[in-house]
C-alpha cells in the first residue's frame, strides 16, 4: 500500500503533526507483540464538534480510514476512543462496525464497548442529555460539567470495565487470523483524555495523566505496543485521499458556533477568512450584532479581536497573530468580552489540569483567579511573564504549554494591562 498521497496531510486534532510521518513510524516499529490503532474521538476541545458530525454523516468512511491505516501499519487491534456524551454516535459506530463484521471487513469479535478510566469527580454523563453536538461543545457546557466520574457507571452504558480490556492485552493468534479487531472505548470524561498519552493511560485503567515523551506512542503506546493515534477527521481525510476521492488537504472541517445564525460543521478551504466562514457558511452573526471577540481553533487557541476577522484561517497566518488553527473550531462572541471569555477558558483549564506537574496545576489556577479578580492583582514575587514562561517551558503536556497563550492573546490584541502588586 502506498501512502504518498498523504504527504500533505497534517493531523486535524489540533497539533497539526504530519500524518504520513506517524504512519511510517508505527509501520517501522517493532512488531513482535503486535500494534494498536487508536482513533481519538474524545473531542473535548470547547467549540469543536466535527468528530461528532463525522460519525453522524460519514461513519463508515472514518472506519474505512482506520482499517486502511491498520493495514498499512499492520495493526491487529484498534479502538475508537469516544467522548462519553456522544451516545447517539456510539450507536451509529456500533451499527457500522457490525455491518463491516458481516461483510468480513473486521474481525468477528469487533464492536465491544470498553470503559476507560477517568478522574473521580462529578457524576458521569453517559448520554447527550438531549443536547446537540453543538450545544455539547460550548465552553459553558465544559465549564459546568468538566470531568466525570465514570466508575460504576459503565454497566449503564452497556460497556465493559477497563480491566476487561486488560484481559486481552496482547493480540491473540486467533485475533490475528481473524483480521483487524475494532472496539469502542468510552472516554474517561476529562479534557486531558484527549492528549494521546493521557488517553492511553486511561485505557490502561490508570489515572489519565500524560506520559513524559520520549518515548512516543509510535513505539511505546497502549500496553507498551507501537500505537498509532490519529484524530477522527485525520482518518476521514486519509480515507478520501487513499481512495482517490480527494487529492490534497486544501480543506478542513470548520466547526462554527456561538453567536451565528447557522452553527454547524462546514467543509471549507484552508485560507478562507473568518468573516467569509461566518457570513457565507454560518448564515451571518446572530441578530447582526457586533462581534466582541472570536476563537479561531477551539478554546486553547485563545481570543482574537474583530479587526482580525479578515485574516486567513491558516496555521501560517494565524501564527503571526500569536495563535494556531487548532481544531478549526470558530466560536463567535457578541455579548461576552474577550476578558470574560478568557477567564472562562482559564477556569476550565484550571479545573481540567491533571495535577501531575506543578506549573500547570498551580499556574492555571493562579491565572484563572488573576483574570477573575476585578482589580487583576498579581500577588506573587515572580512576574507574570516569568510565570507564563515557567508554564510554557516547564509543563509536561500541551495543556500547560498552551494555557499561557490565553493571557498572551489578551495582552497582544486587547490591550490587557499587566499589573503587579509589588
Amino acid at each position: 500500500m502506498d501512502i504518498d498521497c498523504l504527504d500533505s496531510l497534517r493531523g486535524c486534532g489540533g497539533a497539526g503533526f504530519p500524518t504520513s510521518f506517524k504512519w511510517n513510524a508505527v509501520r517501522d516499529a517493532n512488531a513482535d507483540f503486535g500494534k494498536v490503532i487508536i482513533c481519538n474521538a474524545d473531542e473535548g476541545e470547547p467549540g469543536t464538534f466535527k468528530d461528532g458530525w463525522l460519525f453522524d454523516n460519514h461513519c463508515a468512511a472514518v472506519i474505512d480510514g482506520i482499517r486502511h491505516a491498520a493495514e498499512y501499519v499492520n495493526a491487529q487491534r484498534g479502538f475508537i476512543y469516544l467522548r462519553p456524551e456522544y451516545s447517539a454516535q456510539r450507536e451509529l459506530i456500533s451499527a457500522a462496525i457490525q455491518q463491516m463484521v458481516s461483510d468480513n471487513k473486521l474481525a468477528p469479535q469487533s464492536g465491544r464497548i470498553f470503559q476507560a478510566n477517568g478522574f473521580p469527580g462529578r457524576p458521569a454523563q453517559l448520554d447527550n442529555g438531549g443536547l446537540s453536538i453543538v450545544e455539547l461543545s460550548s465552553l459553558d457546557w465544559f465549564v459546568e460539567h468538566g470531568s466525570h466520574d465514570l466508575v460504576g457507571e459503565t454497566q449503564q452504558s452497556g460497556g465493559l470495565a477497563h480491566d476487561a480490556m486488560l484481559q486481552y492485552p496482547l493480540p491473540q493468534n486467533e485475533d490475528i487470523e481473524a483480521g483487524f479487531c475494532l472496539d469502542i472505548c468510552l472516554g474517561g470524561g476529562a479534557y486531558i483524555c484527549g492528549e494521546e498519552t493521557a488517553m492511553i493511560e486511561s485505557m490502561e485503567g490508570k489515572r489519565p495523566q500524560p506520559r513524559h515523551k520520549p518515548p512516543f506512542p509510535t513505539t511505546n503506546g497502549l500496553w507498551g505496543l507501537p500505537t498509532l493515534v490519529n484524530n477522527v477527521e485525520t482518518f476521514w481525510w486519509a480515507e478520501r485521499m487513499i481512495s482517490g476521492e480527494w487529492q490534497q488537504d486544501a480543506e478542513r472541517l470548520f466547526s462554527i458556533s456561538g453567536a451565528v445564525n447557522k452553527p454547524g460543521v462546514y467543509q471549507a478551504p484552508i485560507g478562507i477568512t473568518a468573516r467569509q466562514l461566518i457570513n457565507d457558511y454560518a448564515g451571518g452573526v446572530k441578530d447582526a450584532a457586533e462581534i466582541s471577540c472570536w476563537i479561531p481553533g477551539g478554546a486553547a487557541t485563545g481570543v482574537l479581536p474583530p479587526t482580525l476577522l479578515d485574516c486567513e484561517m491558516s496555521t501560517e497566518v494565524l501564527r503571526e497573530h500569536g495563535t494556531t488553527l487548532g481544531t478549526a473550531a470558530l466560536v463567535v462572541f457578541t455579548e461576552e468580552s474577550a476578558l470574560e471569555v478568557s477567564t472562562k477558558i482559564m477556569q476550565f483549564f484550571a479545573q481540567e489540569s491533571c495535577s501531575q506537574c506543578t506549573p500547570c496545576r498551580i499556574g492555571c489556577a493562579e491565572f484563572a483567579d488573576y483574570l477573575a479578580d476585578e482589580k487583576h492583582n498579581w500577588p506573587h514575587r515572580g512576574s507574570i511573564d516569568d510565570w507564563l514562561q515557567a508554564m510554557q517551558l516547564g509543563s509536561i503536556c500541551g495543556l500547560g504549554f498552551t494555557a499561557p497563550l490565553i493571557i498572551h492573546q489578551l495582552q497582544k490584541h486587547f490591550n490587557f494591562e499587566v499589573q503587579h502588586a509589588n
Binding site: 473521580p120 481540567e352 495535577s355 506543578t358 498551580i362 515572580g382 516569568d386 514562561q389 516547564g394
Partner: protein
C-alpha cells in the same frame, strides 16, 4: 556494564546505561534540587524543580525522569532555566485555596495537612511500589487534587500496614506523625536533638534516627541510603515508642504476694530464684517437655543462644522459639 559518555556544562562524564541525568549530575557534584524524587521509587518528573536544558529538546527536561544516552549535551544553568526553576519553586509554595477541606482519619498514627501538600505523589508511589498496599490514592484534578486513603475516609479501612513510609518519603510536612505532634512541646526550652541508633525490635538492625526533646522521644525516622533498611521502617520501629515514658511501663521486677494477691516490688535475685524454683518444680512433676521457652524478638542473637542453652542443657527440652523467626 555498558557506559554512556555525555557532556554536562561543558565537561564529559561517563555514566552507566540506565542512569538518569540526575545521577549523572550527582556524579559531577552538581546537586539539583528535587521534590518529587526518591531514589527508591520510579522517577515521576512531576514537580519540575530539577529541569535542565538538553540540546535538541524543545524545552527543558526533568533530570530525574530523563535517561542518559551517549552524546547528550546538557546544561544545568542559564538565565532562562534558572528563572523557570525559581518560578516553579515559588509555585510550590502556593497553598491552593481549594485544597483546604479534606478528610480526617481516626487512625492514631498518620495525619494529613493538605496545605503542605505539593502533589508530588511520593506517598502514593511508595505505598504502591514499595509496600504494595495501595492504601493511598491521588484524587481530584488541578488545585482541587489531594491525597486520601484509598476509597475511604480512614487508613484503617484500607490495606494500610501503618508503616508510616508515606510520612518518611513526604518532602513537606503534609503527611505527619500524629503522635509526634501530640508530644512535641513548642513552649519547651529543651533542645531538640537527633540520635542515630539501631532499632532493637527485631534482628534486622534497621538504622533509625530518634528525635528527642529533653527526655521525650518526639519522633523516629530513618534515612534513605543508610543501614540495611534504606529508610524503610515497620509500624513498630516508627511508631511504637510511647512505652518509653509510659506510667505503666515495668521498670523493676515484681512478685505476686500469695496472701494479698498484689504485685510487689522485689530484687532481681529474689525474682529469678522464685522463677528457677518453680520451673524445676514443674519439670519434676510434669517432665521437661511441659516447659517451653519463647524469646522476644528484641533479644539479640547472643541472648537467644543463651536461652536455648538454658532450655536444652539445664531443663532438657527442645521447646524453644524466637518470635523473630516468624
Amino acid at each position: 556494564m555498558p557506559t554512556n559518555t555525555l557532556t554536562i556544562n561543558g565537561e564529559q562524564v561517563a555514566v552507566l546505561q540506565g542512569e538518569s541525568l540526575l545521577d549523572a549530575c550527582a556524579k559531577m557534584g552538581i546537586s539539583l534540587l528535587t521534590a518529587c524524587h526518591d531514589n527508591r521509587l520510579e522517577a515521576y518528573g512531576g514537580c519540575r524543580t530539577c529541569l535542565v536544558d538538553l540540546d535538541g529538546a524543545p524545552r527543558p527536561v526533568p533530570a530525574c525522569k530523563t535517561l542518559t544516552s551517549a552524546g547528550m549535551v546538557v546544561s544545568t544553568s542559564g538565565e532562562q532555566l534558572e528563572t523557570v526553576r525559581a518560578t516553579i519553586d515559588e509555585m510550590l509554595e502556593c497553598i491552593p485555596a481549594a485544597a483546604l477541606e479534606t478528610w480526617t482519619d481516626a487512625n492514631r498514627f498518620i495525619g494529613y495537612d493538605p496545605q503542605q501538600c505539593i502533589m508530588c505523589d511520593r506517598c502514593v508511589r511508595y505505598c504502591d511500589e514499595i509496600m504494595q498496599c495501595n492504601a493511598l490514592e491521588h484524587v481530584g484534578q488541578g488545585v482541587d487534587a489531594f491525597i486520601q486513603p484509598t476509597q475511604g475516609d480512614s487508613f484503617l479501612d484500607t490495606s494500610c500496614e501503618l508503616c508510616g513510609g508515606c510520612i518518611g518519603t513526604c518532602p513537606t510536612d503534609a503527611l505527619y506523625s500524629k503522635q509526634s505532634l501530640k508530644v512535641f512541646n513548642e513552649q519547651s526550652d529543651a533542645v531538640l536533638s537527633s540520635t542515630r541508633t539501631v532499632c532493637n525490635y527485631c534482628g534486622v538492625g534497621c538504622v533509625i534516627d530518634i528525635e528527642s526533646q529533653g527526655n521525650n522521644v518526639i519522633d523516629i525516622d530513618a534515612q534513605t541510603g543508610v543501614g540495611p533498611n534504606d529508610g524503610h521502617l515497620c509500624s513498630k520501629g516508627r511508631f511504637a515508642w510511647q512505652f518509653i515514658n509510659h506510667p505503666q511501663r515495668l521498670t523493676k521486677p515484681l512478685v505476686r504476694n500469695t496472701e494479698s494477691g498484689e504485685l510487689e516490688e522485689t530484687s532481681w535475685q529474689n525474682a529469678l530464684s522464685i522463677a528457677a524454683t518453680k520451673m524445676l518444680d514443674i519439670k519434676q512433676r510434669h517432665g521437661a517437655d511441659s516447659l517451653a521457652f519463647l524469646a522476644s524478638s528484641r533479644c539479640t542473637n547472643e541472648d537467644v543462644y543463651a536461652l536455648q542453652k538454658l532450655a536444652r542443657a539445664i531443663i532438657g527440652t527442645n521447646n524453644v522459639h524466637s518470635c523473630a523467626a516468624t
